[in-house]
Symmetry: C2
Subunit: 406 residues, 2 copies
């Protein structure tokens, strides 16, 4: 497996992109993106689990219930989430599908849609229509980077890459882009990701591969009940390479490449938190179930008090245990061990059986001062574990909290 | 029922207080508080539901399991939570009970303890011991206000009051104090409250009365799983007035007074959030269970994106629905109504059956610009409801989020 320098969603063969200024909300920047495959794609998606879902999520779920074998294009707008817009919002999402289908000469069930931006404001469908008309003639394999830029909202950097994997039948390419600067706010901002590949992969295999990939990447920066109205990860396979997944080794190689790509995109989302200066891995082990471990890890990872301590390089581990305690998962506080480390999770033990060790504060502070470090909480309640990634929280919030202990 | 001007925990007969500088963490301020009843008290308490509970919570639970009829004193320290301090922390909490018992000439099972401050740092028991010795000679009914000041940590104002109720046998007084500036941070800081009364109330009745009072006050600013390691509400009744609860009317009158007092203390905690300028009531109705309504209301109330919109007087109701959607409670987004108001919850409808109404933005902004207003979310899933109180979130967080929609 190898990384493609400056790769994008148009790195795989047969994918084209165009990004245009539709003035949906922003002025003087591209905010409407069209990604088109020259041939039909197998498609699969993972969506938000919120009870309040945006119209494009409903439209895509409906579309993918009918068609996972001949998707041709994705229309993505930034500046308006088309969420909490009622039935008219759903009509607008479906109108977008219809407009793109008409321009591209295909059926509306071959079009998927994604939106990100403000909630509760009607999508200006006329501007979307004009944008699509403007975009089609500009479709090009050179526009992958423009596409990654046009889907940004509060993001400070465009997130895109591509990887290649050698299968038994030849080389395949996977390209991806994402937007989101989540985990810096306890409410995760919308996370959108579109992944393309020129491998030949049937929809059911694609679905399984994406589920595995998401569980070890985007789900480590988000969770059930902590998703926005619009969160979507979409994977399209157009088979343009002519190379199929023919055997177990091929499946392994492709899956590894997809996992690396999604993990890298998820990591970049964490690192793009406003003011984020640190990337922190939270490992919880010894839980009765991996879901329990995940819930505890996520409660720690989203705690503003924990995240401000990270920002202040203050090894205020009491806040870590306090966050774990309020996660709603039963455990015995007198069986808990806590370790921290830079390269390995077990470099310095802070808590042994619920009691502080006689570690040196300077040693703990030296680890918390790194730009990346690992927190490992061991519960001794079972054998399951999980990991999430987070960043520090800075700004005025820090000035109130980071110095609390000194 | 009437309010006592500048009332405190020593307003009821037979209660004394002393607050002294023990230098547990702070310099040049009182941080150790002793509250003593001249006679034995019936006692009851409500504690945090966190899995990681501070040593004083464990000590008090144990003590109240053995003795709810002859409590004599409470020792409260600020600056150190004695939480995540392992078994030595529990030893220190029990030593504190023993030290106070010795100084006051009673049994250690007649002493309760409360702590608030930094987590994970050993309680300096020698300083606590010196503080208790220093405090005992200073015990006075004049020190109620000093006590309320000495338990503060991040609080900006001392919170104390007293109310009186006329029972069939005569007048009784209830005094209370609290510390906490919760709900401004999604992690609630420690909330401690001590309530005293000179009414004659048996422990089982006291327990029931406190449960009712807490459910309509402190539990509206906190929830299961969102509590700190130390949260405690303690109610002591020394019977010094000689007036008992003799009949149903007496019970009603006493309960009403206790409810008013606890509601006022809880309200003051919300209003004391750093930088808080608004007091917002979140009503959720039409839920299948009141627990569901509470979960949704609390998710809205703790959402930083919602709270920054409050601060910016931006009626960005999409964030309210988005927060409701990720609360983990199933509901149909196309059956949701949303109303806002200043005096009444139903003054202006923003959302009807999941679809924005044609309300005037200026009317919505005028309500959000008030220092107090009401949000009412109606689910149409059932007949249960619940209410929580919250405040706005200001500081730099606002500069990032409050202008997002404009």
């Amino acid at each position: 497996m190898q990384h493609l320098s400056d790769g994008t969603v148009t790195s795989p063969q047969g994918f084209l992109a165009a990004a245009v200024p539709a003035e949906i909300k922003y002025k003087n920047r591209n905010d409407l993106t069209l990604i088109v495959s020259e041939t039909d794609c197998a498609a699969t998606a993972v969506f938000t689990r919120s009870q309040v879902v945006a119209a494009p999520v409903i439209a895509d779920r409906d579309t993918l219930a009918r068609n996972t074998t001949s998707i041709r294009a994705v229309v993505i707008n930034s500046g308006n989430a088309n969420a909490s817009t009622g039935k008219p919002g759903l009509t607008n999402a479906r109108l977008t599908q219809g407009l793109a289908a008409k321009e591209l000469g295909c059926h509306s069930d071959q079009i998927l849609v994604m939106s990100t931006g403000v909630i509760g404001v009607p999508l200006p469908i006329d501007k979307v229509a004009d944008g699509i008309t403007l975009a089609v003639p500009q479709l090009s394999a050179e526009n992958g980077r423009s596409a990654a830029e046009a889907i940004m909202t509060t993001d400070t950097v465009a997130k895109h890459l591509a990887v290649q994997a050698e299968l038994s039948g030849g080389m395949v390419t996977i390209g991806g882009m994402a937007k989101g600067s989540g985990m810096i706010h306890p409410d995760m901002a919308t996370m959108l990701s579109l992944i393309t590949t020129d491998a030949v992969v049937p929809p059911d295999v694609l679905k399984s591969l994406l589920k595995t990939a998401v569980n070890q990447s985007f789900n480590r920066i988000s969770v059930d009940g902590d998703t926005s109205t619009n969160d979507t990860v979409l994977l399209l396979a157009n088979g343009a390479s002519g190379v199929a997944i023919d055997n177990h080794d091929d499946a392994e190689a492709f899956s590894e490449a997809l996992n690396v790509l999604t993990r890298e995109l998820a990591t970049r989302i964490v690192k793009d938190g406003e003011g984020a200066t640190k990337f922190v891995e939270i490992q919880v082990s010894g839980a009765k179930t991996s879901a329990n471990a995940h819930t505890i890890a996520n409660t720690i990872a989203t705690s503003p008090l924990v995240k401000t301590a990270f920002a202040g390089s203050d090894a205020n581990w009491g806040r870590i245990l306090a966050a774990a305690g309020r996660a709603g998962i039963p455990f015995d506080q007198y069986k808990v061990d806590l370790w921290i480390g830079i390269e390995q999770p077990d470099e310095l033990q802070l808590v042994n059986q619920g009691t502080p060790t006689d570690y040196e504060e300077a040693d703990a502070a030296a680890i918390f001062a790194q730009s990346a470090f690992i927190i490992s909480l061991q519960l001794s309640e079972g054998n399951e574990s999980d990991t999430v990634w987070t960043c520090d929280l800075s700004h005025d919030y820090v000035s109130i909290n980071a110095d609390y202990r000194t």
